[in-house]
């Protein structure tokens, strides 16, 4: 062991300099060529304010399309899911409460049309997306609150559905982009 100590120690030092020093710096340099210099993709609204495109936001106001429930309240200084087991009685009470709230704010919809993603928390607590069905079911409420034509809002939702990538993966809607477009709708 003594014989290996000095070589191991020096090899460790040069490896730290190489893998923790040079490699991240090289990646940082490449990042300067990436959109927004590797500081996270941003989008701007009509007032010029910027937001992070991939980080979901809390939307609980009736005039906006709602995001999914979140275990961290969309505070992206942290992240995480509820970690509730599927048969946990407390958890099932929470889901029932989320369904009741959703029904109360969206009168006239049928319970069977609520997709489960609108009443369950995501893994990160920062999910920027909802399902297409989750947006469509909110169209009636939005158009009523904003006094807009239902078909116009429905068309906006349809426009914002991101289809599968090269035929792979689920359909989804970025809630932030949809709501910014909604604010711009006359």
């Amino acid at each position: 062991m003594k014989r290996e100590l000095i070589p191991s120690l020096i090899l460790t030092i040069v490896c730290i300099l190489f893998f923790s020093g040079i490699y991240p710096v090289v990646m940082w340099c490449i990042a300067q060529a990436a959109p927004n210099k590797g500081e996270g993709f941003t989008i701007k609204d009509s007032n010029g304010k910027y937001y992070y495109e991939n980080i979901g936001q809390k939307f609980t106001d009736d005039k906006y399309f709602w995001s999914r429930p979140s275990a961290v309240g969309y505070n992206a200084a942290g992240s995480g899911g509820s970690n509730k087991g599927p048969d946990n009685p407390d958890y099932l009470v929470q889901v029932q409460a989320a369904i009741d709230t959703f029904m109360a704010h969206n009168p006239g919809i049928s319970k069977a049309d609520i997709p489960s993603d609108m009443v369950t928390a995501s893994g990160s607590g920062l999910d920027p997306h909802i399902s297409a069905q989750g947006a469509e079911i909110q169209v009636a409420r939005i158009s009523k609150v904003r006094g807009l034509d239902k078909s116009k809002v429905a068309a906006l939702v349809k426009e914002h559905i991101d289809g599968p990538m090269y035929g792979m993966g689920p359909e989804r809607i970025n809630v932030l982009k949809l709501n910014i477009a909604l604010d711009n709708l006359k």
């Binding site: 062991m1 290996e4 100590l5 070589p7 191991s8 090899l11 460790t12 893998f19 923790s20 490699y23 991240p24 990646m27 940082w28 490449i30 990436a34 590797g38 500081e39 996270g40 937001y51 979901g56 936001q57 939307f59 969309y74 992206a76 200084a77 942290g78 992240s79 995480g80 899911g81 509820s82 509730k84 087991g85 599927p86 048969d87 946990n88 958890y91 099932l92 889901v95 029932q96 369904i99 069977a112 049309d113 997709p115 489960s116 993603d117 369950t120 928390a121 995501s122 893994g123 607590g125 999910d127 399902s131 599968p164 990538m165 035929g167 792979m168 993966g169 689920p170 989804r172 910014i180």
Partner: protein, 579 residues
């Protein structure tokens, strides 16, 4: 659903297509042959060896290789402890995160040292950028390199010859890092940069949301980190939510890239063994055994997640996306279910959905993946674990046909068998003993004193559950299984950042990492020194489907005998209650 199914098929097939040429490349690297990366890395390696006073021409025996391995690992451990316990005054700490407590630093340092990456902290608040990059990411490189180097020593020992010299450990280690891990990482990190993963040293950004709330957004040098996290099957996330976080895994494409990245080297190591030892058929037999096990676990998991939660169905809403609790919309239930099994059969332990909220069948399959721990397995160590089962199968097969057991022209004798048995049984022992102690404490609601306090400051042992009943038992079983398999994923509801869990899992991690490296290297070293007997008509052929089935049966029998009672109390009981 079809686009989602198509997505996972593409991930699997693409991995296989890339793994075969990569396996050939790895075999060339370990064989010291000329490869295209020579022009840049050869001078660097030469310089490294020169300053470290290592003579790469000197070959080592298996004992000396292990001494070198353990010595350098000890140095890494001390370095990581230093960083984690002093990060508050060290540079690159824009968010002013505090030092780790000694028990948390112990757990974190060991867990990254042993390629497990069990994380009892959250990346946003628990570590500085210096700790992330200079302690944790450094360990992600070198721990993967260590596992691969140990596998390379075994490859060398399994060649058809008699020798004591098994190459130079330092060369295997350094080349694994520079020639294999680093180029892949740079490619994968670059793809991530253009998909939306940050790579910045700036701290938390504060802004106002559309609705008018103040929100904070954690960032960091994520792209570099996320690449080695998967290529080295480490699995420790930059952020608390790991690859469910929209910065760490922003799109479906980045999800595919990360999945291929983590499966790639475990696949390729198997083929590298075939090319290196000129046993290509045997390598394919091994790969097919592993794939069979993987498919048996992954298909029921996908079905269970797509069907969704029967309790929620009962509430009268629809589940078009399946069980969505703890899952992200952009990945969907199928890619998340596929990931949950891939990450547990290999020892990555990264997650793109929260395992605690999966259906009981899925939870059981994740546990089984880690209990068997060699359907692919982690980089390097997956092959070593599998090798133990091969030795057991050769012995049992030899007894069945009444011949002296042989593998690769070398006799398997009592000494090798003893080592193999100890290693094979130690894994269930660590898992079950740990779970038994924790269950005893929880069942008696013991006052844990200094060892444990929940969020409310109470010291009752039952406070560490996030879920009651059978699922709570599964949380404890999962924690020790994940530790002993060096996996690192968790049923994250468990309150694990306290001295009891930090220290006990830390001890399990140390044993479960180094014994399964020492054992197979010792067996291979002993075999290498034995006389080579050319195959005759009486030799039990190992590169056949029959032998593959035998290996599979050995695995299933050991896992079933050891783990069925524990699984019956956890996920199986939960499933029965549900249906």
């Amino acid at each position: 659903m079809y686009p989602q199914i198509f997505g996972v098929v593409v991930m699997f097939v693409a991995t296989l297509l890339l793994a075969v040429p990569l396996g050939r490349y790895i075999a060339k690297v370990y064989g010291g042959q000329r490869v295209w990366t020579d022009f840049i890395f050869k001078p660097i390696e030469k310089l490294f060896f020169k300053v470290s006073r290592i003579d790469p021409a000197i070959e080592m025996g298996w004992k000396q290789s292990l001494v070198a391995l353990l010595t350098i690992n000890l140095i890494w451990f001390l370095w990581a402890m230093f960083c984690l316990m002093n990060q508050s005054w060290l540079p690159l700490n824009p968010d002013h995160n505090a030092n780790m407590t000694p028990d948390l630093a112990w757990n974190t340092a060991i867990s990254f040292l042993v390629n497990c990456n069990l994380q009892d902290y959250s990346g946003e608040t628990g570590v500085s950028y210096f700790s992330q990059v200079y302690a944790l990411m450094f360990l992600q490189f070198v721990s993967a390199g260590t596992g691969m180097a140990a596998a390379a020593v075994v490859f060398n020992a399994l060649k058809d010859r008699t020798t004591e010299n098994l190459g130079n450990f330092y060369i295997y280690f350094l080349k694994s890092c520079t020639r294999i891990l680093l180029p892949l990482c740079m490619l994968i990190a670059t793809i991530h940069l253009f998909e939306g993963t940050p790579m910045t040293f700036k701290g938390i950004d504060t802004l106002t949301s559309v609705q008018g709330d103040t929100m904070h957004v954690s960032r960091g040098p994520v792209a570099a980190f996320v690449a080695i996290k998967h290529v080295g099957t480490n699995g420790g996330g930059f952020f608390g939510a790991n690859s469910a976080h929209p910065f760490e895994n922003p799109t479906y494409l980045s999800n595919i890239v990360q999945m291929i990245a983590q499966l790639l080297i475990p696949f390729a190591m198997m083929f590298a063994f075939g090319f290196y030892c000129n046993k290509k058929r045997l390598a394919w037999v091994f790969w097919c055994v592993m794939t069979t096990g993987f498919l048996i676990l992954v298909v029921p998991t996908i079905i269970a997640e797509v069907q969704g939660n029967p309790y929620i169905a009962h509430m009268g809403i629809s589940q078009p996306g399946g069980n969505m609790e703890g899952k992200e919309i952009r990945f969907g239930a199928i890619a998340s279910a596929f990931w949950s099994i891939a990450t547990t059969v290999i020892s990555t332990g990264s997650v793109n959905a929260m395992h605690d909220s999966f259906m009981p069948v899925s939870g059981m399959n994740m546990l089984l993946g880690m209990m068997i721990n060699s359907f692919y397995g982690g980089v390097g160590v997956g092959f070593l674990n599998f090798f133990i089962y091969v030795i057991l199968a050769v012995f049992i097969g030899g007894l069945m046909v009444g011949r002296t057991p042989e593998f690769g022209g070398k006799k398997i004798e009592a000494r090798e068998m003893k080592i193999a048995m100890i290693i094979a049984l130690f894994h269930p022992f660590l898992i079950l003993a740990g779970t038994a102690v924790a269950s005893y404490l929880a069942a008696h609601d013991t006052n844990m004193g200094w060892w444990f306090a929940d969020a409310a400051g109470k010291h009752n042992a039952s406070g560490w559950f996030n879920n009651p009943s059978h699922h709570g038992f599964s949380e404890m079983l999962y924690q020790y299984t994940s530790s002993s398999a060096n996996n690192g994923s968790g049923f994250e509801g468990l309150a694990d950042n306290n001295p009891f869990w930090n220290i006990s899992t830390g001890i399990v991690l140390l044993f479960s990492r180094f014994l399964p490296i020492i054992g197979p290297v010792a067996i291979a070293g002993l075999l290498a020194g034995k006389k080579f007997i050319p195959a005759s008509s009486g030799t039990l052929k190992t590169d056949t489907g029959t032998f593959g089935m035998l290996v599979f049966a050995v695995k299933v029998i050991i896992a079933a005998l050891a783990f069925f009672p524990a699984l019956a109390l956890g996920p199986i009981a939960e499933w029965m209650k549900m249906h």
